[in-house]
């Protein structure tokens, strides 16, 4: 695997849209070619080289390309967007849409990510070693496809609206979450090791939410079913299983309705 190292040399004056920072657009290119890739500040077209120092050489395919980004990227949007293979490691916090519509490979952010990250993710592994904002693994506005596959792991806390319209994949939050978890979900699994504020599984059709900590307010549409033992992320414990959202439509399997499941650790 070849490594390309990007180092921030100048902060954007407004905000930088850099959807080219992916193994897919770097693959097969030399440092000089990578420097010429387009980035945007509003209507101004710039190049990656205007804002980053580029060192190394990309592999011939995305899978053979690793990108390491150093320097403050907290005003850089779209890093790792639509990446399909390879690896991106960002040693900074990042702005919106990091890992949006990611299809494969591994994206590691050693910092916090802003909102709309992992939007509509289809596959791969997205590790956030900090906190995440709102709409993590949710769908784009008006889209019915939130996170569909892959894994998102957050070391810290997350904001609200995570996993909206999620229909596959897994999200593991090691900290706390705010409101609206898995709203409209039709599949997938969200594990929250910490506490949740409110509104888990509103309008949820299918899928699973597992909470280790406390929940401030339960949705009235969730009804206690039974106690079950589960092994989640290497931990085995007893959970209360709730069915929901009973206000929402549900498909049937073998004549029985399939519900969304909420598990609360006893």
């Amino acid at each position: 695997m070849n490594t390309v190292t990007l180092t921030v040399k100048q902060q954007p004056e407004i905000i930088l849209e850099a959807d080219c920072i992916t193994p897919d657009s770097f693959a097969g290119k030399t440092a000089a070619e990578i420097e010429k890739l387009p980035v945007y500040q509003g209507k101004q077209n710039c190049t990656l080289g205007d804002y980053f120092k580029v060192a190394g050489k990309a592999g011939s395919t995305p899978a053979e390309t690793q990108i390491i980004v150093n320097g403050d990227c907290s005003r850089v949007k779209y890093i790792g967007m639509k990446m399909s293979a390879g690896e991106v490691v960002v040693n900074s916090s990042t702005d919106m849409y990091t890992g949006g519509w990611m299809k494969g490979g591994k994206l590691v952010v050693n910092g916090n990510v802003h909102s709309f990250c992992g939007l509509g993710m289809e596959g791969g592994e997205f590790i956030i070693n900090g906190n995440a904002g709102n709409f993590l693994g949710a769908s784009y506005r008006g889209d019915w496809r939130g996170m569909q596959g892959g894994l998102i792991r957050v070391k810290g806390n997350v904001g609200s609206d995570i996993g909206t319209f999620m229909n596959g994949g897994e999200m593991i939050i090691e900290g706390n979450a705010d409101i609206h978890i898995a709203t409209h979900a039709e599949g997938g699994r969200i594990v929250i090791k910490g506490n949740v504020n409110r509104r888990i599984g509103g309008q949820m059709v299918k899928g699973e939410v597992i909470v280790f900590g406390t929940v401030n307010v339960m949705m009235p549409g969730f009804h206690y079913n039974q106690d079950v033992e589960l092994t989640v992320d290497g931990v085995t414990a007893m959970f209360q299983e709730y069915n929901g959202d009973l206000g929402e439509r549900h498909p049937k399997r073998k004549g029985e309705p399939v519900y969304g499941k909420l598990y609360l650790k006893k």
């Binding site: 407004i14 905000i15 945007y40 500040q41 509003g42 209507k43 101004q44 919106m96 909102s115 709309f116 709102n134 709409f135 784009y140 506005r141 008006g142 019915w144 319209f165 409101i179 609206h180 709203t183 409209h184 409110r198 509104r199 509103g202 309008q203 307010v217 339960m218 949705m219 009235p220 549409g221 009804h223 959202d245 009973l246 206000g247 929402e248």
Partner: protein
């Protein structure tokens, strides 16, 4: 001889009453009386008589005072600002005509602006919900003629849309509603006992921030599911009772306002209210309508959606494509995150409505405001361009809260020399074209 102008449309709130009668002096310069309008609507027309109207563009001087300048100078300043800025917020539009909006959008396309309207701090959350789950809706005329179950959820038309109840939703007698309010069951759901609650048959007091949970309970009850004993302070028996009453109606409607759009969960509250409306259509005919505020904020959403596919916060900064993301391309986020280089405000007053942090950020950027009056925003602008009042001193198309287009009328002449929004925007567009050709 004073003249009476009939069938005048009121350019104040989203009810867009179109039955006003205005008496005007024979020289067409002064409004003498306003008939049929509510107090706030009448005030809008009577405002033309207030002394101290600004009739020339003004530019702020280094010492903070304003100096009168010509329209040409103001238009040149605006065009240069728009051409230079890499990302410009172009916010407002809710109190101007659809014709003016479309000229504004042409400017935005040229200069890579972000066009946002008052929905961003109002019913934007409703528009997100509509994109997510659609909307079963109808016109206010249908409400008048058919509705026998009317719910006001988190809105207070008694104060915000004063003639809504008498023209459409509670009192009028219609084709199938010959008994007027006696034939309708009125519900009000709110966290406070408002003046609208006073005229309702049933008032449901929900704890603040529990609307989503309560609507979830309504949906669960409609499907005959089990409920906890109490939801947001409302006993479950009440929920089952109201849902049964709604099912037995012939035609139901939910009107909702800021109590849903700007409390915890925002778009999700509307989303679940729409979903409940859809559920009720299994049993009877049910609709839902947003109580839009500014008289033509709906029009701005219409024109933007028609041109770009999104109803507000349309980001044209990439020039070749339209993008949209609430939380990113919305005015307050752009300002607080310092993502724009210049601000262009028209036909609204963000200074009075936006969070302070957003306006502090705005005040540090080159700013032009086009508005008939002095307001909070004009005072932090570099240039203020006064214009004629749309719907009073010039006409144009507007959309009512139920998305019905209604033409507004000119009833009096504007003060001498004052241009209209359309004229000012056309001249800015021409100047932008010139400057871009020169470059």
């Amino acid at each position: 001889m004073p003249k009476v102008v009939t069938d005048v449309t009121c350019p104040f709130c989203g009810t867009l009453c179109d039955d006003l009668e205005i008496t005007v002096s024979d020289d067409n310069k002064k409004i003498l009386s306003v008939k049929n309008a509510c107090a706030i609507g009448a005030e809008k027309f009577n405002h033309t008589k207030e002394p101290g109207r600004v009739t020339h563009p003004r530019m702020r001087q280094p010492d903070g005072t304003f100096k009168e300048i010509s329209y040409d100078e103001a238009i040149d300043f605006t065009a240069r600002m728009l051409v230079k800025s890499r990302k410009t917020l172009m916010y407002g539009w809710a109190s101007t005509s659809c014709q003016a909006m479309s000229i504004g959008h042409e400017i935005a396309e040229k200069v890579g602006g972000i066009v946002d309207n008052c929905a961003t701090v109002c019913h934007g959350s409703s528009l997100i919900a509509i994109q997510d789950v659609g909307i079963p809706s109808c016109t206010l005329g249908e409400i008048k003629n058919r509705a026998d179950r009317v719910i006001f959820w988190g809105c207070n038309p008694a104060h915000a849309h004063p003639r809504h109840m008498s023209r459409y939703s509670i009192f009028p007698r219609g084709f199938f509603t010959v008994k007027g309010h006696k034939g309708r069951k009125i519900y009000c759901v709110d966290c406070r006992h408002t003046d609208t609650a006073r005229v309702a048959d049933t008032f449901i007091q929900v704890q603040q921030g529990y609307d989503y949970e309560l609507l979830n309970a309504f949906r669960t009850a409609a499907r005959g599911g089990p409920l906890p004993d109490e939801i947001g302070g409302v006993p479950k028996e009440k929920v089952y009772e109201v849902v049964e009453e709604l099912k037995t109606g012939r035609f139901g409607v939910i009107f909702f306002g800021m109590g849903l759009t700007h409390t915890l969960g925002r778009n999700h509250n509307i989303d679940i209210a729409i979903s409940f409306t859809r559920d009720m259509n299994e049993f009877t005919k049910f609709n839902i309508i947003a109580m839009r505020g500014h008289w033509n904020v709906t029009g701005s959403g219409q024109v933007l959606s028609w041109q770009y596919g999104f109803p507000y916060a349309v980001d044209l900064s990439r020039l070749d494509k339209a993008r949209y993301q609430t939380g990113e391309t919305t005015s307050v986020d752009l300002l607080t995150r310092n993502e724009v280089e210049a601000c262009f405000y028209i036909a609204t007053d963000p200074g009075a409505h936006f969070p302070i942090a957003a306006m502090i950020s705005s005040s540090k950027k080159p700013t032009v405001t086009i508005d008939p009056h002095i307001n909070c925003t004009t005072e932090i602008s570099d240039v203020h361009i006064p214009v004629a009042m749309v719907g009073v001193e010039t006409g144009g198309c507007a959309y009512r809260m139920d998305n019905v287009p209604i033409e507004t009328r000119k009833v009096v002449d504007p003060p001498e020399g004052l241009l209209t929004d359309e004229e000012v925007l056309t001249r800015i567009l021409n100047r932008v074209n010139q400057l871009m050709e020169e470059a």
